[in-house]
Point group: C3
Chain length 140, copies 3
Amino acid sequence: MSSRRFITQGEGLPQWSSPISHAVVVGNTCHISGQLSVDISGKYIAGTAYEEADRAFTNFLAVVKAAGFSKDDVVFVDIAFINLADVDGVNVLFAELFAEGKRPARTIYQASALPFGGKIKVTGVAIKDNTSDSPKQSVE
Amino acid sequence: MSSRRFITQGEGLPQWSSPISHAVVVGNTCHISGQLSVDISGKYIAGTAYEEADRAFTNFLAVVKAAGFSKDDVVFVDIAFINLADVDGVNVLFAELFAEGKRPARTIYQASALPFGGKIKVTGVAIKDNTSDSPKQSVE
Amino acid sequence: MSSRRFITQGEGLPQWSSPISHAVVVGNTCHISGQLSVDISGKYIAGTAYEEADRAFTNFLAVVKAAGFSKDDVVFVDIAFINLADVDGVNVLFAELFAEGKRPARTIYQASALPFGGKIKVTGVAIKDNTSDSPKQSVE
């Protein structure tokens, strides 16, 4: 039986017209598609960078959850900005979302344009710690 | 014996002057270098965004295959555009390449410039499902 | 016991004000945050693209080492440029850092802006080959 799963729908996941999965899970690893400030119908919601980041992260974490992962499993976050000066506000949000000492690695940069004319795009990777079902334990 | 493999040549792989591998495989995971609209000699072939994407994906999938992976193993694709409006044509291509319900996660954005002055760059990750040689089965 | 580790300090690691980890390790995989031309105090050091790349890679490899990984474990490197024409110099550096036949996969692109107004950002992934403690061996 395959452990591969394609996440295309779930609670809180925006509808998409693009021919992609929201996330793909293989084993203990989950790759998440770029998430934007869109509502549940997939409609772009313009806002301040902070508002757009808040909505994009809400969508990102909804995908993580729908894939069977939790916020604590997120190891890497890639944030594209249209104006990198917006990072200060996003840092406040990031610090609230991820507890000190358990924060993901991250990369940020300024893009020339993002889908829908959005200000922020969030993508990333989550990995479960499979120590509890590691080889050594599973054979005892 | 190491399971690490550096993919530098193979059927359909463009020649490169850059000091990099086309892909690196460790265990069941393959990371693929950014692929462009270049021919087998590594020469850039200018075209419409659709044509460049078609060629970049052909190269991308040639690397995936040379690494011992298949299209179905691709979990994540990162596409950089010079003009994000070209995404509609690329979506048509993407939908043809990857069957519904088995599509990778994806992120897209507009860059300021790409190598060779190209219009499209494709990179990504492939992961094999190693359930068939999972711990539980291997000890039985 | 969890195998998850958040790398926030270590020898040669720049201090950061951002609410992120320098790297996160789960099992044999390490995701590294975007590294820039900053000194140990986190202060941006402007230089030529080559100088900035040299410093960014020094920081990148310090993080890799602090995470318990080595340069040979790096499978993928993502380099953002402010001027993609700087790639020639960076290729010289890259070829020195990574021995022929053991080079990472790589993707490069030109961004509109990078943190601190820097010219180069380096991020990537390292994976250890865990063949030596693979399931088959661990049960014998």
